[in-house]
């Protein structure tokens, strides 16, 4: 009976953090608060018994996404630009209308965990009942993910792969010269062809520049 209380409190923390993120100008602080946000959402998933989702949120949200956000901050400015004067009427209207539509849409949704919900009427029952004999592994999530819905997972893996390729194509990769001596300072090993850091920066700026032994 404590679970609803935990749930409500975690969601309340999330709302508070979301408001703070909107108000904060320092992007570093925003990255920190996002890390808190993902910690909290993993807590909410845990309360909802969604162990695998919580696990993903724990691994991705707390670790990798914070690091990638900070790494992005090193490439951009640390502070948000000050906002323009005046009340932005048009965006506010759009946001309010969209929000109202979404809230209106939720009135049609079944209650959380409702056994009569449409999502539980088609194949979910069969997966849950037959997974034990057909697949033979205890974790139904894994059997749905990897076997029943193998096509989807293949698609997701391909998407991750494509995303990786896209980022490399846009940003390029730093490469170590293969025969380079071990330097005492990490800054000495800047790139493949460059000696001066500024020169390297200047031509690495060109997106998608074909490099030797290229990646794109």
């Amino acid at each position: 009976m404590i679970e609803p209380v935990i749930d409500i409190l975690l969601l309340a923390f999330m709302i508070v953090i979301a408001l703070a993120v909107v108000r904060m100008r320092d992007l570093f602080g925003v990255a920190m608060l996002f890390s808190l946000f993902s910690l909290l959402s993993a807590g909410v998933f845990t309360v909802m018994d969604a162990a695998d989702v919580a696990f993903t949120e724990a691994a991705v949200g707390a670790g990798i996404s914070t690091i990638l956000m900070l790494a992005t901050l090193t490439r951009t400015a640390r502070r948000e630009r000050p906002r323009a004067k005046g009340v932005p009427i048009l965006p506010l209207t759009v946001v309010f209308i969209t929000g109202a539509l979404l809230v209106f849409g939720t009135s049609d949704l079944p209650r959380l965990g409702d056994p009569d919900a449409p999502i539980h009427q088609h194949v979910a029952d069969r997966y849950l009942q037959r997974s034990g004999e057909e697949i033979g592994i205890p974790n139904v999530v894994t059997s749905v993910l990897a076997s029943y819905r193998g096509y989807d997972t293949l698609g997701e893996t391909a998407v991750i792969f494509t995303a990786g390729i896209a980022v490399i194509a846009l940003l390029g990769l730093r490469r170590r010269r293969p025969r380079q001596e071990r330097k005492t300072d990490g800054r000495d090993a800047l790139g493949e062809t460059t000696v001066m850091p500024t020169a390297g920066m200047a031509d690495e700026r060109v997106p998608g520049r074909p490099e030797k032994g290229g990646d794109g």
Partner: protein, 91 residues
């Protein structure tokens, strides 16, 4: 019994969130986030016990490990402003 623990941890989390939002310096925020991470590990473990689902403990375990990496990344970002420097040799 674990209800009491959950309430205590939730109160601590609320106070840590307060500091994370108020925090005048970035270091205050980092301290609050670090403390919050530890408390999340605790609350997930407590939830696992409240539900009697002990496989949820794996999530707490992964947090205990991953949270550290986040803090190290934050420190590195804050000390160097970039990620490619500061390896071996003089930082």
């Amino acid at each position: 019994m674990f209800t009491a623990a959950a309430i205590a941890v939730l109160i601590t989390m609320a106070l840590a969130v307060t500091r994370a939002i108020l925090g005048p310096t970035v270091y205050d925020r980092i301290v609050a986030v670090n403390m919050f991470g530890t408390k999340t590990v605790l609350i997930i473990a407590v939830i696992a016990f409240l539900k009697g689902r002990h496989d949820l403990l794996d999530i707490a375990l992964v947090y205990a490990l991953i949270n550290f990496i986040g803090i190290v990344a934050v420190l590195k970002f804050f000390e160097y402003g970039e990620f490619s420097r500061g390896g071996r040799g003089r930082p």
